[in-house]
Amino acid sequence: MTGKTLLSVQNLTMRFGGLTAIDNLSLNVPDQAITGIIGPNGAGKTTFFNCLTGFYKPTEGAVTLNHPTKGPIRLADLPSHKVAQAAQVVRTFQNIRLFAQMTVLENLVVAQHNALQKASMFSIAGLLRLPGYRKAAGEAVERALSWLKRLNLMDIVNVPAGALPYGTQRRVEIARALCVNPLLLCLDEPAAGLNPKESAELNTLLLHLVREEGVSILLIEHDMSVVMNVSDHICVLNYGRKIAEGTPAEIRVDPNVIKAYLGEDEDDQPVEKAS
C-alpha cells in the first residue's frame, strides 16, 4: 500500500426507475492494495462495477481515478471501452465472458487490440507485413505467454476458451484482463466455481499482482476464505448502501455486518443475479 487513493467514489447513486440499486455511496479505493466489496445478493455490488467501468451511467455522483501520469480522470464521463483503454480500469465478469470459439492465446492477444491496431496502422502495415508491426505482434504474443505462464495455463494455450472447465475459464479471464495492462483490476466473483485448492492459488496470485506488479484490485467475492485473507480493506454493501468499512478484522466483528451478512449461512454458495 502506498497510502494514496487511486479511485474515489463520491455520493454515487444509481436508480433504475423506482429501484435504487446504489444509494449515495462514497468510497476511497487505496492504491496498490486489495479492496474487497462484499454484501448479500442484490446489494448492488455488480451495479457498482457497471458504474465504474462505463456500462451504466450513474444517476448521480462522481467516480474519479487518479491516474499516475494522466491526472484525475472522471470515469462516469467515458464510454466503456475508453475506461479500459485510457483509464486502465479493467474488469472481469461474474458470468464469464470469454471469446468462446477463439483460443486462449487469441483471447489474450485480442485484449491487446489497441496497441496492435496502432502498430498495424489500421491494417496497412499489417497487410504489408512491415517489420514494425511484426515486432509488435511478436511482443503481444510474448506478453500473453508470460501471463499464461504465471497463471499456470501453458498447457491450454491453443484450446478454444469455450471448451475449458469453469475454473480454468475464470483464470483465463483474469489473464486476459491483465493483458490490457490495468492500473485497477475489478474482479467480479473470481473464486466462484473454484475448488479450495484453486481458491488458495487465486489468493497467491492476487497478492503477487499487488505486491510485484503494482496492480490495484477491487474484488467482489462471496468466498470468505478469499476476501478475508487477501483484502487490505473491505467495504460492505446492503440494499445499495455502505453499512461498514474497514480492515478484515474490523469487519468480522462489526455488528451491522454480522446482522446483514455474516450471520447467514456461510457455506451457502449463492448465485447472485446482476443487481
Partner: protein
C-alpha cells in the same frame, strides 16, 4: 525459449484416406458437369452424352494424386522443420510471425488443388461456352460469399441486404463508363470506395442492433436501394436498366473483331474468336476472387480481423477490453461492402447490361445461404457451397419445374447432415507450439 509455429502432426492412414476422399469428392462435384457430360452434334441437333468411365478415372486419379501429394508435402515439411529447429537463436517475435503466415493444413492443400483446377479449367473447355459461363457465375458467387463472410462469418452481423452493395458497385461502373467514358480499372476502386461508403451508411444506424433485428433492417436497406434504382429513372434508367456497358479491356485493347481499331486479336496476331473475351472474363473474376480471398485471409490474422471475431463472440467483453466496438463493426460493414462493390463492377462489365432485376432479395438470400451452408467464417466452405448452390439449379435445368425443389432439398440435406455448415471448424489465427530449451 518458445517458438510459435503452426501445429503439425503426422497424419494417420485413416486421416490420409479421409483427406483424399474429400479431394475425390470435390473432383466428383466439379467433374460431373465438366467431364461426366458432353454435348455431341447428331446431325443437326445437340444431344447430351455421358462419359462416366472418364469421370471415374478423373476421380480416381485425384484420389491417388492427393495421397501422393500429401506424402511428398510431409517429407518436405519434415526436412524444413529439422532445419528450422536448428536455429535456436530465432527470436520469439520472428517465431510469432511464422505463425501469422499461412500454415499448411489439409484445408489449404484442398484450396490449392481447387485453385489449380480453376486455372486449368479453360484449357480443357476453351470451346465450351456454357461451362465457362457457369464457372464465371460460380466465381462471382464465391467472391460475393467471401465478401459477405467478413460481415456475417467473422463479425457475426447478420446482413440480409448484401446485394445492395453489389448493385452500388455495378451501377457505379455502368454510369461512370457510359456517361463519362471511364474504363474498368479506373472505375473499380471508385466503385469499391462508394460501396464501402454505403456500407458505413447502413452500419451507422444499425450499430445497436443484433441478430434478427439487424437482419430486418439490412433487408429493408437492400430493398430501398433496389426501389431507388427502379424509381430514380433519370439516374438509373429505371426498370429498363443501363445498356451497352463497355467490356473490360486489356491495357486499352478490347476483344473486338479483326481490323477494328484496338483489337487485341490484331495486336497479338492471333485468329479472332468470341471465346477469347469469355476466357478473359473468366480469368479476371478468378483473379479478383483470389485477391479477395488473400485479402480476407490476411485481414483475419491482423488485429482488426481478430477484433471482428471477438465482436461476434462477445460485444460486452470487447468493450471491457478497451475495443471500440463501433469502429470494429463499421470496418466490417465497409470492407464487406467494398468487396461486394468490386464484384458488382465485374458483373456489370461482364453482362454489358444491368437492371434492378439482377439485384433482388433472392440474390442476397443465395449469397447468405452460401456463407451459412459453407460454414460461417470458412473460406473453403464458401467455395463448396457456391459450387453446390449455383450448379444444382443448372444440373436441374432438364426438369425445370423441380429445380427449386432440388435446391431446397439440397439445403435441407446440408443442414441435417452438417448443421454448422459444410466446413464448420474454425482455424485459429495463432498457434503456439512449445519447443524444449536448447543449449
Amino acid at each position: 525459449m518458445t517458438a510459435i509455429v503452426h501445429a503439425h502432426h503426422t497424419p494417420t492412414l485413416s486421416e490420409r484416406l479421409k483427406d483424399a476422399s474429400a479431394a475425390a469428392f470435390i473432383a466428383l462435384i466439379l467433374g460431373i458437369p465438366m467431364i461426366g457430360m458432353t454435348t455431341v452434334d447428331q446431325g443437326g441437333f445437340l444431344a447430351v452424352m455421358t462419359r462416366w468411365p472418364q469421370l471415374a478415372l478423373f476421380v480416381g486419379l485425384t484420389f491417388a494424386g492427393r495421397i501422393l501429394f500429401s506424402l511428398a508435402l510431409e517429407t518436405i515439411k519434415r526436412r524444413s522443420q529439422g532445419r528450422k529447429s536448428g536455429k535456436s537463436a530465432a527470436s520469439a517475435a520472428e517465431a510469432a510471425n511464422a505463425a501469422l503466415k499461412r500454415g499448411t493444413k489439409p484445408e489449404s492443400v484442398i484450396g490449392w488443388l481447387a485453385v489449380g483446377i480453376a486455372v486449368a479449367l479453360p484449357i480443357f473447355f476453351s470451346e465450351d461456352r456454357y461451362i465457362i459461363d457457369i464457372a464465371t457465375s460460380v466465381l462471382i458467387y464465391i467472391m460475393l460469399g467471401w465478401g459477405l463472410n467478413v460481415v456475417v462469418g467473422l463479425a457475426g452481423l447478420l446482413d440480409l441486404g448484401y446485394v445492395a452493395f453489389y448493385a452500388v458497385g455495378a451501377y457505379t461502373y455502368a454510369l461512370l463508363s457510359t456517361q463519362f467514358g471511364w474504363g474498368f480499372w479506373e472505375a473499380l476502386p471508385v466503385a469499391g470506395g462508394l460501396a464501402a461508403l454505403f456500407g458505413v451508411l447502413l452500419g451507422w444506424p444499425t450499430l445497436r442492433l443484433r441478430g434478427d433485428y439487424l437482419a430486418i433492417v439490412t433487408l429493408g436497406f437492400g430493398e430501398i436501394i433496389r426501389l431507388l434504382l427502379v424509381n430514380w429513372t433519370e439516374l438509373s434508367g429505371g426498370p429498363n436498366g443501363i445498356t451497352s456497358i463497355p467490356r473490360p479491356s486489356v491495357f486499352g485493347y478490347a476483344f473486338l473483331p479483326p481490323d477494328t481499331e484496338g483489337s487485341i486479336a490484331d495486336l497479338l496476331g492471333i485468329e479472332f474468336s468470341p471465346m477469347h473475351r469469355l476466357l478473359f472474363l473468366y480469368y479476371l473474376i478468378l483473379l479478383l476472387a483470389l485477391l479477395t480471398n488473400l485479402f480476407v485471409t490476411a485481414m483475419r490474422r491482423l488485429p482488426l480481423g481478430r477484433a471482428w471475431e471477438a465482436v461476434r463472440e462477445d460485444e460486452i467483453a470487447c468493450k471491457a477490453m478497451g475495443i471500440n466496438v463501433t469502429t470494429v463493426k463499421l470496418s466490417a460493414f465497409a470492407i464487406g461492402a467494398m468487396l461486394g462493390g468490386f464484384a458488382g463492377v465485374f458483373f456489370a462489365a461482364r453482362q454489358g447490361f444491368i437492371s434492378p432485376e439482377s439485384f433482388t432479395f433472392s440474390e442476397s438470400a443465395i449469397i447468405l445461404a452460401i456463407v451459412v451452408l459453407g460454414g460461417m467464417g470458412s473460406q473453403l466452405g464458401v467455395v463448396l457451397a457456391a459450387l453446390v448452390l449455383v450448379m444444382l439449379p443448372e444440373l436441374g435445368r432438364d426438369f425445370a419445374e423441380y429445380r427449386m425443389l432440388l435446391f431446397g432439398f439440397a439445403m435441407i440435406v446440408i443442414m441435417v447432415w452438417r448443421p454448422g455448415g459444410i466446413l464448420a471448424n474454425r482455424t485459429p489465427t495463432l498457434i503456439h507450439v512449445p519447443t524444449g530449451d536448447k543449449a
